[in-house]
């Protein structure tokens, strides 16, 4: 008897549905214009309303592309949190209704755990135990992963997420939002050692990114006072220096944690793991520390239902189902 799961993701901006069979991903549909072309609709830039409009076509397309009938499903999975309440409600309600009408078990998935389990969608898959640095617009976490569903947050940000630090630094530079990818792009042309921004010292493996944002603000204020064209004349160097500082802060704690836990399998996850500077810097550490590093494919870094389906597969095997009373949890945590 095969295990076939339909998974829904609606924690933030993307509406996504995926079908997985026996741990092998069959379809992963993310709401884009192409989904809407089939339905003649338009995507408004409103998170939960967009989810409401997207969820039916996205699920329909995921099932039909997989050539799977609803009756063949073993379970329905959804993102319970963390995320935006209004957005999570759409996926949660839809999954509950579907589970109820099909009389199938329901699986609630933690979005942050799923980001890590995205590493098991395709080879090469990390061996346990491994450390995962999960970095996105909303999160910065160092996670010790001992098994598929046994993982513990050993460090996290006390204030801003690193993706937020990228986006807000970009805003201070007058770049458009979200500016994180633009900083990455300009950083490739600049000298990362042109300017230095002091890292915030935090106890243990925790992070803080609000101090560096303020340091950047002071720096730009003082420099533009002397030279009004400072930002435009030095944009590439400033971006390279900001990126270098943020990545150093991320990697400093990662190195400390790897030493402390004596772990050499290192993974990154989340939207910011697409950052080319972070990938290169991590790769550069491999010879020095004898690490095995794992980068997920770009399409599994950003929010997607494939990772929710992957997590749900492991939860199905563990028989971790939830009742129809379940509600979204915008600040959902995980750990032992």
């Amino acid at each position: 008897m095969s295990i076939t799961i339909l998974a829904l993701e609606s924690s933030c901006d993307e509406t996504s549905a995926a079908v997985i069979r026996d741990g092998v991903l069959i379809t992963n549909v993310i709401a884009t214009q192409t989904v809407h072309e089939n339905y003649g609709g338009v995507v408004p830039e409103l998170a939960s309303r967009a989810h409401q409009q997207n969820v039916v076509p996205v699920v329909h397309q995921a099932l039909s592309k997989a050539n799977i009938r609803k009756s063949e499903l073993s379970a329905i999975a959804f993102t319970q949190g963390p995320g935006l309440l209004g957005a999570l409600l759409v996926g949660t309600s839809f999954a509950k209704a579907l589970a109820l009408s099909l009389k199938k078990p329901l699986i609630a998935v933690n979005h942050m755990q799923a980001h890590i389990l995205a590493h098991f969608i395709e080879d090469p898959k990390p061996a346990f135990p491994f450390l995962c640095l999960t970095v996105s617009g909303g999160h910065t976490q160092l996670v010790l992963v001992e098994d598929y569903l046994k993982m513990e947050i050993i460090g996290q940000t006390r204030d801003d997420a690193v993706g937020e630090a990228f986006d807000k630094s970009a805003k201070l530079l007058g770049l458009t939002y979200p500016g994180g990818p633009l900083i990455d792009k300009y950083a490739r042309e600049g000298n990362p050692l042109s300017f230095s921004f002091p890292p915030s010292e935090m106890p243990g493996f925790d992070y803080s990114f609000s101090g560096i944002k303020t340091a950047i603000l002071y720096f730009l204020r003082d420099q533009t006072k002397r030279d009004a064209n400072f930002i435009q004349d030095n944009l590439y160097d400033i971006c390279a220096s900001i990126q270098h500082s943020l990545i150093n802060m991320l990697l400093d704690k990662l190195i400390k944690a790897a030493k402390h836990y004596k772990i050499s399998n290192i993974a990154i996850a989340g939207g910011v793991s697409a950052n080319s500077g972070l990938r290169a810097a991590l790769q550069n550490l491999v010879p020095a520390y004898n690490w095995q590093v794992y980068f997920p494919k770009f399409e599994y870094c950003t929010d997607n239902a494939a990772m929710i389906a992957m997590a749900a597969h492991f939860k199905y095997i563990n028989e971790e189902f939830c009742s129809l009373e379940v509600s979204p949890e915008p600040r959902m945590k995980f750990g032992v």
């Binding site: 933030c12 830039e45 409103l46 998170a47 939960s48 309303r49 963390p82 995320g83 935006l84 309440l85 209004g86 996105s136 617009g137 909303g138 999160h139 940000t157 006390r158 204030d159 801003d160 997420a161 937020e164 807000k168 805003k171 201070l172 939002y177 609000s210 944002k213 303020t214 950047i216 603000l217 002071y218 204020r221 915008p330 600040r331």
Partner: protein, 147 residues
């Protein structure tokens, strides 16, 4: 009893070490106003001040930036609820309506609101405005105003 008119108070030359004391002053000044709007440029220290206020109010949860989730919910030792909003990333007021912002604002619980300028028409009529500016020596000036 609420003070009449538009009381204003100013706290100047504020360093990070002064935050616990400043927080007590702000809490006393705020009387029973439930909507506290935090204005100031990026990096001015809105989230940092809210962290200090939460500390003074006995909040037991970790106070962090809600830029991603738009709203964080905290409780204090007496189980009172606090809402912390950050509307920085929204582009349309409808997005704030979608998260049910009215229900939070009129819940009777204290609401800390960063970037209120993004949702001008959704702000209740009565509020405390906390305006933070950075002085040239990097100390902060906080202006409190009851509207």
């Amino acid at each position: 009893m609420r003070a009449k008119g538009k009381p204003i108070q100013q706290i100047d030359n504020l360093n990070i070490d002064d935050l616990p004391n400043a927080s007590k002053n702000i809490i006393a000044f705020a009387q029973d106003y439930k909507i506290w709007l935090f204005e100031g440029e990026m990096g001015a220290g809105k989230t940092t001040l809210i962290k200090a206020l939460c500390e003074a109010l006995g909040v037991v949860d970790e106070v962090s930036s809600p830029t991603f989730a738009l709203v964080n919910e905290y409780v204090n030792r007496e189980q009172a609820t606090f809402y912390h909003f950050d509307f920085y990333r929204i582009e349309h007021e409808e997005e704030a309506m979608d998260i049910g912002v009215d229900e939070y604002f009129y819940s009777g619980h204290l609401c800390f609101v960063e970037w209120p300028g993004k949702i001008p028409s959704l702000i209740p009529d009565e509020f405390l405005r906390i305006f933070i500016t950075i002085n040239s020596d990097n100390t902060r000036k906080i202006v409190l105003e009851i509207v």
